[in-house]
């Protein structure tokens, strides 16, 4: 949602702590003077504003490690109750983004809010950490504690009462099929069991937002399905879920919207929108026999992304009825016999590969 009206932005004086509000247009940067002590500061108004239905709002977020730009100019919003997936290759900045949003590492520039609280602000960071749950890419469980003790420890940190802790631990362990193993040391658990326990740990305090970093990586298909089904179950409970993955199939199955990231955000939309946005459709023609004469003649036609694999020809089309006729004519004229011809939509994989290779 782009808002062009003026917006208010809080300014906390770095010298005296005095709080003032200034008005400006989205994306504008202004220099301000503290009315209390006269200290100077700078405010950048977010380029977009979040409405009430927005849980995560990110605006021009950037993170630099030394000479390495890990994440650059990231802007997007995630609505309450939405499953948002971040797709990207290794090193694309997915984990860095989650860490910034979970207030684990600082941002270099830009802004982001979770539930209206601003990352980078010390007081807001504590509030953000109270309302989120994180499953990092390494599950990070205490291997020498039982499943129950792992969850109990986190319940205590979040100030849950004895009754709340017992109830939540039992509920989540039962939901994930781990209740019978509650007193077993985690070091004896399989990867799938650990992953499920890490999800339970992230949920122990009933957070509004759940960050999952590669939750099904290295899991067997059955365990991966259990975790995916559980994520979909959480959606029914109106949890906002931010999911990092490089599993396209998983993203397509469970995410309401997907962002494709490779340092910068390359595209964002529903899986269907992304499938259609970049590649359009393809025609796949299978011949009985391919020969050089047919191939060379077809290559002279103005076809986009023509690929020959054995007896199969594939190319991009926008209007199949118009564009396929000359191809068929050319093949037949040169003695070719067409076994089959299909027009197929592009896949999320096509879109993803195209965007991350840009």
């Amino acid at each position: 949602m782009i808002d062009t009206a003026n917006i208010n932005q809080k300014f906390r004086c770095p010298s005296c702590g005095n709080i003032q509000f200034f008005s400006g247009s989205p994306g504008q940067q202004i220099f301000v003077v503290c009315s209390s002590c006269g200290a100077k500061g700078k405010i950048t108004f977010p380029s977009t504003t979040a409405d009430e239905s927005t849980m995560i709002h990110v605006s021009h977020l950037k993170k630099v490690f030394g000479d390495l730009v890990a994440v650059d100019d990231l802007s997007f919003s995630v609505k309450r109750g939405e499953i948002f997936g971040f797709l990207g290759p290794n090193g694309a900045g997915k984990t860095t983004t989650i860490r910034m949003l979970c207030c684990l590492i600082s941002k270099t520039s830009g802004s982001a809010t979770i539930g209206g609280y601003e990352i980078g602000n010390k007081e807001d960071s504590i509030k953000i950490r109270k309302m989120i749950g994180l499953v990092p890419d390494n599950v990070g469980l205490s291997e020498n504690l039982s499943a129950y003790d792992n969850l109990d420890f986190y319940g205590r940190i979040y100030d849950l009462t004895d009754a709340q802790r017992k109830e939540n631990i039992q509920r989540f362990l039962e939901m994930l099929g781990l209740w019978e193993k509650r007193n077993v040391l985690v070091r004896t658990f399989s990867k799938g069991m650990k992953q499920k326990l890490a999800v339970a740990r992230a949920l122990i305090h009933n957070p509004e937002v759940l960050f999952l970093d590669e939750p099904t990586a290295n899991l067997d298909p059955e365990s991966a399905k259990t975790v995916r089904d559980f994520i979909l179950e959480l959606k029914k409970q109106k949890k906002t879920i931010f999911l990092n993955t490089h599993n396209l199939d998983e993203a397509q199955r469970i995410c309401d919207r997907i962002g494709i990231l490779n340092t910068t955000l390359r595209a964002i939309g529903t899986p269907q929108e992304l499938e259609q946005s970049v590649s359009g459709k393809k025609t796949v023609i299978v011949l009985e026999q391919m020969n050089n004469v047919i191939l060379n003649t077809v290559k002279k036609l103005p076809l986009k992304n023509l690929i020959q694999e054995g007896n199969q020809l594939t190319y991009d089309v926008i209007d199949p009825d118009k564009e396929n006729s000359p191809v068929v004519e050319t093949i037949v004229k040169n003695g070719g016999h067409i076994q089959s011809m299909n027009v197929v939509g592009s896949t999320l994989e096509d879109t993803y590969l195209k965007l991350v290779r840009k």
């Binding site: 684990l104 950490r129 499953v135 599950v139 990070g140 291997e143 986190y154």
Partner: protein, 245 residues
């Protein structure tokens, strides 16, 4: 900084230590050795020589008491390094850092979890040592040498200060290494200054009277404060997640 939160971390670590056999060994072996071995040595020497002069006995007892400070410098090493390096190996710091706990609370919790077991083990060792020595030396001295102000200063002031120093140093070292053994190898450095003090007293360069012990304790407390600030500087979530090896 909320002590209750730090205590939750310490309680969790105690639960983990209960199942770590080598943590038990590292805590128990040294206090047991000095609390049993030294009285036995005195007894054997007395039997062989037909009794030791009182002045020699009291000098030996004070010198042996210093071993509780030397021990305090390296007994907590394994437990302190495990609390940090163990979490690094298990990669369990990241979810912990994503909770509302502050860096200071986590660090304090880690410090408590290494400090208390060491203090308890060394204090029990100290009591056994005093009782054993009194039993062995009473026939030669005709009075119970322990407890006295020297051992009180050593066990109640100098030893806790040395444990804190060792724990803080371990936290700093732990941030730079990947395994408990490497951290402990560096941590052994802690033992050297106290061994130096012991040797200086044995060579007659210093006298370990109460004033000297209090002065040493004062210096250690200053070092504790410096190390605490250094460790808090290093124990910041961004550093831990991006720079810790």
């Amino acid at each position: 900084m909320r002590l209750s939160k730090a205590w939750i971390i310490a309680l969790r670590d105690f639960k983990i230590f209960r199942r770590q056999r080598y943590v038990w060994y590292s805590l128990i072996i040294f206090p047991v050795i000095i609390s049993i071995l030294f009285p036995t040595v005195i007894q054997l020497v007395a039997v062989r020589t037909g009794g030791l002069p009182a002045a020699r006995i009291t000098m030996l007892l004070d010198a042996f008491s210093m071993f509780f400070v030397i021990g305090a410098a390296f007994v907590p090493l394994s437990i302190a390094t495990y609390t940090i390096v163990g979490e690094k190996v298990e990669k369990s710091l990241e979810p912990l850092l994503a909770t509302p706990l502050t860096d200071g609370e986590i660090l304090l919790g880690k410090t408590i979890s290494a400090f208390i077991p060491t203090l308890v083990a060394m204090s029990i060792g100290g009591i056994i040592f005093q009782v054993g020595m009194d039993v062995v030396t009473f026939p030669m001295l005709n009075y119970y040498y322990f407890p006295n102000w020297t051992i009180a200063v050593i066990l109640l002031i100098l030893m806790p200060a040395a444990i804190i120093m060792s724990v803080e140093f371990s936290v700093i070292v732990s941030s730079r290494v990947n395994d408990v053994r490497s951290a402990m190898s560096f941590g052994i450095v802690m033992f050297l200054p106290f061994m130096g003090i012991y040797l200086a007293s044995e060579l007659g360069l210093i006298t370990l009277d109460i004033i000297t012990l209090l002065l040493i304790a004062g210096v250690i407390f200053v070092i504790d404060v410096i190390l605490f600030f250094v460790s808090t500087t290093m124990f910041k979530r961004e550093e831990i997640l991006t720079k810790w090896k």
